[in-house]
């Protein structure tokens, strides 16, 4: 379930561009309304009775078991589970299928930051009429908010990424550094660590859009305002500036390792102690366990460093939902699978397989909170992570074209990580480029 933002390596660019161009027939997705469909519980039951084929696009490996269980329970349903790529790769494939009008799955995994792009174009179905409104209260407020757009529900949360500080305790103990509770202390720890061991860095960051927006989110920033097709982008926002000022210190002090995330080198650094911390989403433990085996027993989890001493604010990083593309011909059955996976039997199954839940029932379950992680020296990691889930700052919005905005992050903010200009300059350039794109795409941008 790793959230990579790596661009796909593609050969033969032009032929592919032409091919893609050739596939995008009459693209009037933005004008067709998918909303307002009403499917009663009886319809869903009938669909399950009738059975049929369901194509599910998801990269989350814990869904495999859920799909198998679902087919055992409803033998007439045949689920075709496809891994069409992780994150952005899958959205490209999905967007192409939607444009082409063929090969669209019945269910697709979509991260929260990407969902607005699909809900705005109404290429994923509004779920209010399917009975999704009745699920109010089943999910954590942060994730439930994330699947809403314009007051309507467009997906069901399947996992979440409330953030926490993952740190290599062995490194901290060796250099007698206290675990930072504020970002001020975090910067001080970064300096102390790098001075004690020039090969070691507090963390690696060469510019990551998701991380940047999450930290601004935690700082109380609201750089994006979205009201239908009226949007605003403002990185002069106090929260964004708070982040820029603090993080600039780490860049200027050369205290961040430039190793690119999710590479072999990165995992190696996490294992051997040269990358000492990670501030990231609650989905991280299983990635550490499988990717950085050398760090076994050394890592611990602490609450996310705060912007104010004594504060209790966190943000989400990553996390995804399941949505039903408007082009699906079997929406009632698709919704049955959604509900099964997100709230019914599927939720505990997925937690047992290592997913971090978005449902309050699973988060509060005693066996979930009490689970001891050998990788983390027997620490009850989920206690820290579940606490973070309840402290996520509310009111955050992503842009309806966040996938695109994130793709140009390295063009703009990325420069600051090379020492060309400051983060504030970079964020301003990112803002300008996002505004330009938004205007070109017909949004009212202020």
């Amino acid at each position: 379930m790793k959230i990579t933002r790596r661009r796909a390596i593609m050969g033969a660019a032009m032929s592919i561009t032409l091919l893609a161009a050739g596939c995008s027939g009459s693209d009037d997705a933005a004008t067709t309304g998918g909303g307002g469909e009403t499917v009663s519980e009886a319809d869903v039951a009938k669909a399950l009775e009738a059975g049929g084929n369901l194509t599910v696009w998801a990269w989350d490996t814990t869904i495999t078991k859920v799909a198998a269980d679902f087919q055992t329970k409803y033998p007439k349903v045949k689920i075709n589970l496809v891994n069409a790529g992780t994150g952005n790769d899958q959205y490209i494939a999905l967007q192409n299928a939607i444009s082409a009008g063929t090969g669209v799955p019945d269910v697709a995994q979509i991260e929260y930051y990407a969902l607005p792009q699909f809900s705005l174009a109404k290429t994923v179905a509004e779920l209010d009429g399917f009975g999704a409104t009745a699920l109010d209260g089943k999910f954590t407020p942060g994730t439930w908010n994330s699947v809403h757009a314009g007051g309507k529900i467009y997906g069901l949360p399947i996992d979440s990424g409330p953030m926490a500080l993952f740190y290599n305790k062995e490194v901290f103990d060796k250099h007698q550094i206290a675990v930072p509770t504020t970002w001020e202390e975090y910067a001080a720890a970064a300096e102390k660590l790098h001075k004690a061991d020039p090969k070691a860095y507090i963390t690696s960051d060469s510019g990551d859009a998701g991380f940047t927006t999450s930290l601004i989110w935690q700082a109380g920033g609201k750089p994006y305002t979205v009201d239908g097709t009226n949007i605003g982008v403002n990185f002069a926002d106090p929260g964004a500036q708070k982040f820029a000022a603090q993080w600039q210190k780490l860049i200027d002090g050369k205290l961040l390792s430039p190793v690119v995330g999710w590479t072999d080198e990165w995992y190696k650094g996490l294992g051997d102690g040269t990358i000492a911390t990670l501030v990231t989403g609650a989905w991280m433990p299983s990635n550490l366990e499988s990717g950085a085996k050398a760090g076994n027993g050394k890592w611990r989890v602490a609450p996310m460093p705060q912007w104010e001493a004594g504060g209790k604010s966190t943000a989400e990083n990553g996390g995804s939902s399941l949505a039903i593309p408007t082009a699906s011909t079997n929406k009632a059955l698709a919704y049955a699978f959604l509900k099964y996976t997100a709230v019914d039997e599927g939720a505990p199954t997925r937690v047992a397989a290592g997913a971090f839940p978005a449902t309050t029932a699973e988060l509060d379950a005693a066996e979930f909170k009490g689970k001891e992680f050998p990788y983390f020296g027997g620490q009850k990691v989920n206690e820290v992570l579940a606490e973070s889930a309840g402290q996520v700052v509310t009111g955050w919005n992503y842009l309806p074209f966040q996938v695109y905005a994130n793709s140009i992050f390295s063009d703009t903010v990325g420069k600051a990580y090379l020492g060309q200009g400051t983060l504030t300059d970079g964020l301003k350039a990112w803002q300008d480029a996002s505004v330009k794109y938004g205007t070109e795409q017909g949004f009212q941008v202020k």
Binding site: R6, R7, I9, M10, G11, A13, M14, I16, T17, L18, L19, A20, A21, G22, S24, S26, D27, D28, A30, T31, N88, I92, Q95, S99, Q117, L120, A121, S206, G207, T229, P258, V259, V260, T263, E265, P400, F401, V403, Y404, S407, I408, S410, D411, G414, K415, Y417, L418, Q420, Y437, E440, Q441, G442, F443
Partner: protein
């Protein structure tokens, strides 16, 4: 009364059908797409030539075009010069083990460019790889070959390494078709090796050099794989508009601006044709 014979058409028909399907149809469809605009809000509308006027005043497109032009002007002469040198050296007959020499220079061409670039990326990494080791061993601080200032040079290096052998082979085959009696005649007249190169070999290589040049022009304008692969190692050095092809890729896949992307692709196609044609006209003047 003349009866039209369809025999010719029957023979060329299969080719023409495939040609129309895989060459003409995509181009026509791209041209069709390029006169529309699809917005996330507002859907699709006919915009005439607006995408074209936009492209000509698009600073990102110009930056990309300037970059590949620079690449063309610097990397291609170096690469062809080296290839020429190697071809002449092998042809001179004064080298031992020419077969081995020839195959080892040609071998990089057999390495897929994605693999070649990854290899170069690891070689040039300042924290791992060769550059990192040199810096560490000698306490140096060599400029980061994957930094934004040097990345184009690094790509040029990779491309040169890959394609010298290929171009060498084109030139070498040009040398092999020269009638050896010319050399004998030149030797009788007292011409040395340099004289033979200047008076016989180079003029004979004019055609092959033009062919190699045109391939290189097309290759430079279509630069994509190398920067795209390096993007995963040095994301801040490779912008999303690093080359025209990367820009077109970004526009259609990340930006969903398929129409504008088709416009860029068409402009680049036409630009490549013009440059290649001008090059051919100029260099073949007086020979054809």
């Amino acid at each position: 009364m003349t009866r039209r014979s369809w025999t010719g058409w029957q023979f060329t028909g299969p080719f023409l059908a495939v040609f129309a399907l895989v060459y003409l149809a995509p181009i026509i469809y791209s041209a069709y797409l390029s006169v529309f605009r699809t917005q996330l809000v507002g859907g699709t509308s006919f915009v005439g030539l607006e995408n074209y006027t936009k492209a000509f005043s698009d600073p990102q497109f110009w930056e990309a075009l300037t970059r590949v032009s620079l690449f063309l002007l610097i990397q291609v002469p170096i690469m062809l010069g080296l290839a020429l040198l190697v071809a002449l050296a092998i042809d001179s007959g004064r080298l031992y083990g020419t077969g081995f020499f020839r195959i080892s220079i040609f071998l990089p061409y057999a390495v897929p460019s994605v693999v070649a670039t990854l290899m170069a990326g690891f070689l040039y990494g300042v924290r791992f790889g060769l550059v990192g080791s040199i810096n560490e061993t000698f306490g140096l601080n060599i400029a980061d070959p994957l930094g934004p200032d040097w990345i184009l040079t690094t790509i040029g290096n990779v491309v040169t390494w890959q394609y010298i052998g290929y171009n060498m082979l084109i030139l070498y085959s040009g040398l092999k078709v020269i009638d050896t009696s010319l050399y004998e005649a030149a030797a009788i007249d007292g011409a040395g090796e340099w004289r033979i190169i200047r008076a016989i070999k180079l003029p004979a290589l004019r055609g092959p050099l033009v062919v190699a040049g045109i391939f290189s022009i097309v290759g430079s304008f279509q630069l994509f794989n190398e920067p795209q692969v390096l993007d995963s190692l040095a994301p801040n050095s490779i912008t999303t508009y690093f080359t025209p092809n990367i820009y077109a890729y970004q526009l259609s896949f990340a930006g969903q601006q398929v129409n504008y992307s088709a416009t860029i692709a068409l402009i680049m196609g036409v630009a490549t044709m013009i440059v290649a044609y001008a090059f051919q006209r100029r260099s073949m003047k007086g020979t054809l």
